[in-house]
């Protein structure tokens, strides 16, 4: 907070630009103000996009690459805008920010645009040359099948694989970019659109001619197969996607298999299997599990058809009442119906021990499909494969007309997914749960914690914060960030999930509820509480039922390419290293993330902008005296459109009725609400009366004083107002912009000094702070310096707060002189609150 001091120091000592005339001043103001406003807008958008990105990342729900890409784009665009506007605002300073931005964005780009290495190897390989070692070229399915053939006692159909190299040759980067573009623009909830797009993409692939040399090679390998199986032999084309059958990620049944293909339809069938990658189910599944389309490469196995008599699947380990068994499902002819669940089938449970005795037959539409001998043969093969692949297997098999058993596929059996943790709505009280102390607010970061309440109001409070304590604050200021490593949870009366502190809380996995009023009053310091931030509930004491729910939710995206990529990208985006504007490291060269850049730009823009009134002096002749029924003098400098069109202006004064500045009029309603009753009685005969006189003495010629030092000046435009009040020994400033866009609207109030000693002055600013807190101002306090802010609120709301400030400027004058009197603070606070409430309840404008 020494930054606050610096800002004030600058005001008093800071360098000044040369004197400007009215037009130049107006221009200087409007220009700077535009940049500032745009910077604030970009700041809000960048932080919102960061919060969105983290929200999808930490939600435990699945998300798609398109969403990540959109958010990263929004973040980059807005952060760059902030840099541009800050540089304009500051007259070209901070060039280093551009370098930092370029560096960080290149890192993010390297992550987001990261592509799997292009496959290297032959386009087509006979199965006899395939093994698990080259599964990155052939896909898991074909690699496993080829490997199964090496097991003594297992026979597979002969054939070959069109590898990932072939796919990569057929589907060009141009195709991929266009397909990704069409998928990006899809609304994720638009199922109809998804189906239509899938259809388009598949047609696009099918309509693309196979490169001539690849087609030739395909025919050559087919001819080789014909030599063994007879001329015109039929083949099956089966998908074999990279990563398809790895443990934990199934992709089961999503892709295409085409049976009974002859020579003339080879190329077409090949393309259809490749196009199967873009089926709606496959796309939806990839999204859910966090695979980009480029993470999956489709390879195709071309296998001689088995002239099947009976086919089916077998699970090498199946839990049954009597213990583990082999489960066999069979159907007449080809086995595809079993896999798809459409054919009439028969199920057998077979003993895992030799000689694989038949245990049970379930559902017998066609009895006698498999003999005990055949069942034993299948069970034997399944167990051989289980043994070879070191885990339970899901095996596809066929008996041909001659009674020979072929294995068509073998893949690991997946462990069933855990049940997803259910989150109850906040208003339901679960069994064993106590009634809540408070509930509601915004879940800024999910999770559960238990600990003692600790209020943080000042930096000093931070030193004594207990480890594991529940931090309760009024505003989630970035200043509190250093405590997050120690806190068990953080609760704030204000704020949203988009703030810096919310970001950091999520980064630390620290549970947080923001925007829950009444926390400080309801939760006394030291009280033990349990918070369930995901459900936005706060319980008294240590609630065991709630704590029992603490477990990391299962993440369906865990380990997926999209998650890895998002994790890596977030590292360059959200961590906040620049916490303290007063620190020596608060410089562009120390910005390591985009969040750092936003923080830096925001802080510096405020400094650059708030110095406007101080850095730009103006020729006081352009100020006009306000004509209104109030004591003291008020001077107006019209920056732009602050005065009614057609107003009769003379050289020296302007009438209140001619002023149209929305924020100024609001402040004025507060200033003129009830007349100041003069200085407090006790000091009337002493020092106070001298002050009063100095303040009240009219200085008729505005050119005489030294710029703004002795008078009350309003710098106004239609939507802007900057009021500086320098009365006696204190200084107050109100600045506000009221816009139709919430992102642009704010109020800032600064107050410093007085004639009394430091202790009494400090008591006064604390009194002001207390009153302003009642009206939702965000307060920063240091000694006798007060900074109060409000932003992103609608017009009416802001106007009322400006009225409050107007009232306080008038009525807090010189009360510092009596601040040591017993009960004075309380008396004034009560009086102020009562009168302000009366003022606000009387109809305004």
């Amino acid at each position: 907070m020494s930054n606050l001091l610096n800002r004030f120091r600058n005001i008093f000592k800071g360098q000044r630009e040369p004197l400007l005339d009215a037009q130049d001043l107006e221009q200087a103001f409007t220009e700077r103000y535009r940049h500032f406003r745009r910077l604030l807008t970009a700041n809000n958008n960048a932080l919102q996009a960061m919060a969105d990105l983290e929200k999808i990342y930490y939600s435990g729900e699945s998300y798609r690459m398109a969403a990540v890409r959109s958010k990263v784009t929004a973040i980059l665009v807005n952060v760059y805008k902030m840099i541009r506007e800050l540089r304009e605002l500051s007259g070209g300073k901070y060039a280093e920010l551009e370098n930092r931005f370029d560096f960080i964005s290149k890192e993010i780009e390297a992550v987001i645009e990261r592509k799997p290495d292009p496959p290297k190897g032959p386009s087509i390989l006979p199965l006899t040359e395939v093994s698990r070692k080259i599964r990155d070229l052939t896909g898991d399915k074909m690699a496993n099948l080829a490997e199964a053939a090496n097991v003594q006692g297992i026979t597979i159909p002969q054939g070959f694989v069109l590898t990932a190299a072939a796919t990569n040759y057929f589907i060009t980067q141009g195709h991929l970019a266009e397909m990704n573009r069409r998928l990006q623009i899809l609304d994720p909830d638009d199922m109809e659109g998804l189906y239509a797009t899938c259809d388009e993409l598949q047609q696009m692939i099918i309509n693309t001619p196979l490169p001539a040399d690849l087609e030739e090679l395909l025919q050559l390998h087919y001819a080789n197969l014909e030599k063994k199986h007879g001329e015109g032999c039929l083949v099956a084309l089966r998908s074999s996607a990279l990563g398809e059958d790895s443990t934990g990620i199934s992709f089961a049944g999503l892709y295409t298999t085409i049976l009974n293909v002859d020579r003339d339809h080879l190329a077409e069938a090949y393309k259809k299997v490749i196009a199967g990658k873009y089926g709606p189910k496959a796309i939806a599944y990839r999204r859910r599990r966090g695979f980009r389309h480029e993470d999956i490469e489709m390879c195709v196995g071309c296998l001689a058809m088995v002239n099947a008599n009976v086919s089916g699947v077998a699970y090498s380990t199946y839990p049954a009442a009597a213990g583990p068994t082999v489960r066999i499902v069979a159907t007449q002819g080809l086995g595809s119906g079993v896999v798809e669940g459409s054919a009439q089938s028969q199920t057998y449970l077979v003993n895992r021990e030799e000689p694989h005795l038949f245990i049970e037959e379930i559902a017998i539409p066609t009895p006698g499909l498999l003999s005990e001998q055949m069942l034993a043969e299948i069970a034997h093969a399944a167990l051989l494969l289980e043994n070879h692949f070191e885990g339970p297997q899901d095996v596809e098999w066929s008996f041909d007309q001659e009674g020979k058993l072929y294995i068509l596929q073998s893949r690991p059996v997946l462990i069933p997914a855990e049940q997803k943790e259910l989150i109850a709505p906040e208003n339901i009280v679960k069994a064993g749960e106590q009634p809540t102390l408070l509930n509601g607010g915004v879940c800024a970061s999910g999770g559960i914690a238990c600990g003692p309440v600790y209020h943080i109001r000042t930096k000093e409070d931070m030193h004594t914060f207990p480890k594991g304590g529940i931090m309760v604050v009024e505003y989630p200021l970035p200043d509190w960030a250093p405590l997050l490593g120690r806190a068990g949870a953080i609760l704030a009366e204000h704020g949203s999930e988009a703030g810096h502190l919310a970001t950091v809380a999520r980064e630390f996995s620290l549970p947080a509820i923001f925007g829950l009023p009444g926390l400080l009053a309801t939760l006394p310091e030291g009280k033990e509480i349990t918070v369930n931030c995901s459900e936005r509930k706060i319980f008294p004491g240590c609630c065991k039922t709630t704590l029992a729910q603490m477990k990391p939710p299962r993440d369906v995206m865990a380990g997926s390419p999209v998650q890895r990529l998002t994790t890596d990208a977030l590292r360059h985006i959200t961590p906040l290293n620049l916490n303290d504007p007063a620190a020596i490291q608060f410089k562009p060269s120390y910005c390591e993330t985009l969040h750092d850049i936003t923080r830096f730009c925001h802080e510096k823009s405020v400094t650059e902008m708030f110095n406007f009134g101080d850095r730009f002096s103006f020729n006081t002749k352009m100020a006009k005296r306000l004509v209104a029924k109030v004591p003291l003098e008020w001077w107006i400098v019209n920056l732009a459109n602050g005065i009614r069109e057609g107003a009769v202006e003379d050289q020296k004064s302007i009438h209140l009725d001619d002023i149209v500045s929305v924020p100024m009029l609001a402040v004025w309603r507060g200033i003129s609400y009830s007349p100041w009753q003069g200085p407090p009685p006790i000091s009337a005969r002493g020092f106070g009366s001298i002050l009063l006189q100095s303040a009240m003495r009219p200085e008729l010629d505005p050119a005489v004083g030294s710029a703004m030092n002795t008078k009350n000046y309003f710098l106004i435009s239609k939507n802007f107002c900057n009021l500086s009040v320098r009365l006696g020994y204190h200084y107050a400033m109100v600045e506000s912009y009221i816009s139709d866009f919430l992102t642009e609207s704010y109020i800032t109030f600064r107050f410093k000094g007085g004639a009394a000693d430091m202790r009494r002055k400090a008591v006064r600013v604390r009194l002001l702070a207390d009153v302003l807190r009642e009206y939702d101002f965000r307060i920063e306090l240091q000694a006798d310096i007060l900074l109060a802010r409000i932003k992103r609120q609608p017009r009416e709301y802001l106007e009322k707060r400006l009225q409050v400030l107007g009232y306080l400027i008038t009525h807090s004058r010189q009360i510092d002189m009596v601040m040591d009197q017993k009960g004075a603070v309380k008396r004034y606070e009560e009086k102020f609150l009562k009168e302000i409430d009366e003022m606000l309840s009387t109809a305004s404008v």
Binding site: R34, T73, A74, L76, V77, Y80, E109, E113, R181
Partner: protein
């Protein structure tokens, strides 16, 4: 705010054009539609627009190149890029070259409207500043 000037939408997707057209109509915003960059440039040479909402991933002329052409006009319109696919490098180049904003489809139209209104505001402010 002066919102009298029209918005020019440049995009090669008929469905998107239809949707955004309906959206603008409902809100009483003046707009014209161009199916590609040359048509867009043609519109700009004939009528007054303050904001161009354009895709940069269209067949033909490079979208950013097209934007630079549009920016040569006096006074230059503000360009809001709405596109289906853009590499990050491309995006950053676009924003450095003076695009007002860069959104990836699918874009929420209410959000897009606020972006367009802010772009109109900037256009008007730049005009004033020039005067």
């Amino acid at each position: 705010m002066d919102i009298q000037k029209k918005i020019l939408v440049v995009d090669d997707e008929p469905e998107y054009l239809e949707l955004i057209g309906k959206f603008f109509q409902k809100r009483g915003l003046g707009f014209e539609i161009a199916g590609g960059c040359p048509e867009g440039l043609d519109w700009l040479s004939r009528a007054d627009f303050d904001v161009v909402v354009m895709d940069v991933a269209m067949p033909g002329l490079d979208g950013l190149q097209c934007m630079l052409e549009m920016k040569k006009l006096q006074p230059p319109p503000e360009i809001v890029i709405v596109t289906g696919h853009s590499s990050l490098d491309h995006t950053i180049r676009g924003i450095k070259d003076g695009a007002f904003d860069f959104c990836l489809k699918p874009v929420d139209f209410d959000y897009l409207l606020e972006v367009i209104l802010l772009a109109k505001k900037k256009y008007n402010e730049s005009l004033l500043a020039q005067k």
